[in-house]
């Protein structure tokens, strides 16, 4: 290992980045089984008859293989029968209702952009939702104070200064809608006057879309959120997770040699049009509402995940509408990449690997009318 007194501009000499700086989690991440690259089942419309076999079989957890399709209709009865069977299977698969056990988990629409959960629990609580302390409503505190005298201990009157609060779990609209669609959560409309909380009319799937989509959550963003969640990733809003983006710390060098290195590069090094090493800090989200921004921080599913301290994200995803926006301009792209951590390809000597690793990277998720596709962008 060379001494740390090499030039600051060139990163070849500095020590390899800590695992925390690497977005791909080199040391702590166990390798996940990668889907085979040559067959992408989501490329084409699938035959729903294979889904029926998937659900009916008790043991099979593997994905169905690609069904055979014909080149063109030729009017035979066999072909018509196959098509009718496919449509019938699709109809049957799509008509199943979402059911919940009685007395299970419930939630209630908060009237604007999310839902409150009653009795949070289950598999999803580890990665979804956040605890908010809210003042207890008047009616509740009244009933509490009525309960107090029944205690044997005489209680001293509480000071009126300190309003009582309780911890409640709140869901963002995308989280609530995902759980509703998944059939994991029974969401209700706010109760009518005279009804107890969480006993309003059950929110239908259609009602969920009407309630949760809007200015806060566009359908494009939800499509990407749901795609990632179905694939098993943990997805957090980028705006609320800025603290988890690792900040790059350059290796401290001898000040004199750093100065010399700068002078040397200024005098003799060829000047590239764009030097990705000039800016190593994390930029804020753009103020222009139409500019692309990092929408979600995405984590690979790991057993030790804690939503209170998620650590550095594995991927940075920006959602783009294919019909309404063009490819980002150079300035927008710079702003977008500035929201992702700086991770110079230190210690990588292979030129192609260096290019592939780059200095910053972001995943663009392009959505065209319900069809999502993604591409990754690097600065090299």
């Amino acid at each position: 290992m060379p001494p740390p007194s090499s030039e600051a501009g060139d990163d070849d000499g500095s020590p390899p980045p800590s695992p925390a700086l690497s977005p791909r989690g080199t040391s702590s991440t166990p390798s996940l089984p990668a889907p085979s690259a040559d067959v992408d089942l989501t490329d084409e419309v699938q035959d729903f008859r294979f889904l029926t076999s998937l659900i009916d079989s008790e043991t099979a957890q593997k994905l169905p293989s690609r069904g055979t399709k014909d080149f063109e209709p030729h009017g035979t009865r066999a072909q018509d029968a196959a098509l009718a069977a496919s449509r019938a299977a699709m109809h049957a698969a799509l008509s199943l209702a979402r059911v919940h056990p009685r007395g299970g988990q419930r939630a209630e629409w908060d009237g604007k952009d999310g839902a409150w959960v009653d009795k949070p629990g289950g598999f999803w609580v580890r990665s979804v939702g956040r605890v908010v302390r809210v003042p207890i409503a008047d009616s509740d505190s009244d009933s509490d104070s009525e309960d107090q005298p029944s205690d044997t201990m005489p209680t001293k009157p509480k000071s009126p200064r300190k309003p009582k609060t309780e911890a409640r779990t709140h869901l963002h609209p995308e989280e609530a809608l995902w759980l509703l669609e998944r059939g994991s959560l029974d969401i209700h409309w706010p109760p009518a006057p005279g009804e107890a909380p969480f006993t309003g009319l059950p929110m239908s799937l259609q009602g969920g879309y009407a309630a949760f989509l809007g200015e806060v959550l566009s359908l494009e963003v939800f499509t990407v959120y749901q795609y990632l969640k179905r694939a098993g990733y943990t997805v957090l809003r980028a705006g609320e997770n800025e603290g988890s983006v690792p900040v790059y710390k350059a290796a401290a060098g001898n000040p004199l040699s750093v100065l010399f290195a700068r002078l040397w590069t200024a005098l003799f090094a060829p000047q590239p049009a764009h030097d990705p090493t000039t800016n190593t800090s994390i930029g804020p989200a753009p103020t222009d509402p139409t500019a692309p921004r990092v929408t979600y921080h995405v984590y690979k599913p790991l057993p030790g995940f804690k939503k209170t301290s998620p650590g550095p994200p594995d991927f940075y995803v920006s959602v783009i509408n294919a019909r309404e926006s063009c490819f980002p301009s150079e300035r927008q792209l710079d702003g977008l990449l500035a929201q992702t951590p700086y991770h110079p390809p230190t210690g990588v000597t292979n030129l192609y690997l260096r290019l592939k690793k780059g200095y910053r990277d972001v995943v663009l998720a392009v959505v065209d009318q319900g069809v999502a596709w993604s591409m990754a962008i690097w600065t090299s």
């Binding site: 209709p73 098509l83 009685r102 009319l201």
Partner: protein
């Protein structure tokens, strides 16, 4: 399966500038009769951790919604306003009636679930009993085993709880109509026509099934029949009549299309003659 029919015009629900269908009967119906597939964007609750199959709701691209409205088969409903109005207008009697309907459905679902579980258990005990009997004679603890087997069989018969003990399940309905009543048909809202709408309508009138072509970098994928059974033939792109087309785009599209065994198709409408022309390109290098 008998062919499903729904009354026309049926409502298409607009949420956040998107056109969405929630009713499975309508989805099946427009696929069969109008050759409109849309894109399924929802989740299948019984197979929630996969991205190969999607479920209700169905998102219609604006061209599809416009075509259905122009045909007089559908009308657009602002679903957010409709929910806001409908939920406040709902009377107490209507709420109670709807809740009791859900309760009944929930009970049916619970009974169906129970029957499935019973069947599974019976099968299991039958298997266990059969196994014990098979290896019975040449072992010392034959009596014990046969006793346990007969116990298992009798238990399978006795443990089954009564149907009246079953608690109804809570149901998340798929659509909101009922309890809300569907708004009256209106022609006030018409989805805007994109520049490539003419090409879309032309290909659709030639009995092609069309779907968004993002994955192949085009505007529409054109299928010769239902995409459930057929591969797509064309990668379609709409252009304006006097638009300059870069040759490089044609080469790129032609190579891509040939590479995935599809034709690269470009088409546009000549407004002066009210006619749509389409051209197809194939990479033919040696």
């Amino acid at each position: 399966m008998a062919d499903i029919t729904v009354a026309e015009p049926f409502p298409i629900f607009a949420v956040a500038n998107k056109y969405i269908l929630y009713d499975i009967n309508t989805v099946t119906y427009i696929r069969r009769v109008h050759h409109i597939c849309g894109v399924l964007i929802g989740n299948i609750p019984q197979a929630a951790q996969q991205n190969v199959f999607s479920g209700i709701p169905l998102e219609l691209i604006p061209e599809e919604a416009r075509l259905l409205v122009e045909r007089g088969s559908a009308y657009i409903v602002d679903d957010v306003a409709s929910h806001r109005r409908g939920l406040t207008d709902l009377s107490a009697a209507e709420r109670i009636a709807f809740v009791s309907v859900l309760e009944k459905q929930g009970l049916e679902a619970a009974l169906a679930q129970k029957r499935k579980a019973d069947k599974k258990r019976e099968k299991h005990f039958e298997k266990a009993g059969g196994k014990a009997r098979k290896r019975g004679p040449d072992r010392e603890d034959t009596e014990l085993e046969s006793a346990s087997a007969s116990y298992a069989v009798s238990r399978a018969a006795s443990v089954v709880p009564n149907d009246s003990d079953v608690q109804p399940l809570c149901i998340t309905p798929t659509t909101s109509y009922p309890p809300l009543s569907a708004p009256k048909p209106t022609t006030a809202l018409l989805p805007p026509a994109s520049p490539s709408y003419d090409l879309f309508a032309h290909l659709h009138s030639k009995d092609y099934f069309l779907s968004p072509g993002l994955r192949f970098g085009c505007q529409y994928l054109a299928y010769p029949g239902d995409p459930l059974r057929f591969h797509s033939h064309f990668l379609a792109n709409g252009v304006a009549w006097d638009q300059e087309i870069s040759l490089l785009n044609i080469v790129a599209g032609g190579r891509l299309g040939t590479g995935v065994k599809k034709g690269y198709l470009v088409g546009g409408k000549d407004d002066s003659r009210d006619e749509v022309r389409v051209f197809c390109f194939e990479w033919a290098a040696m």
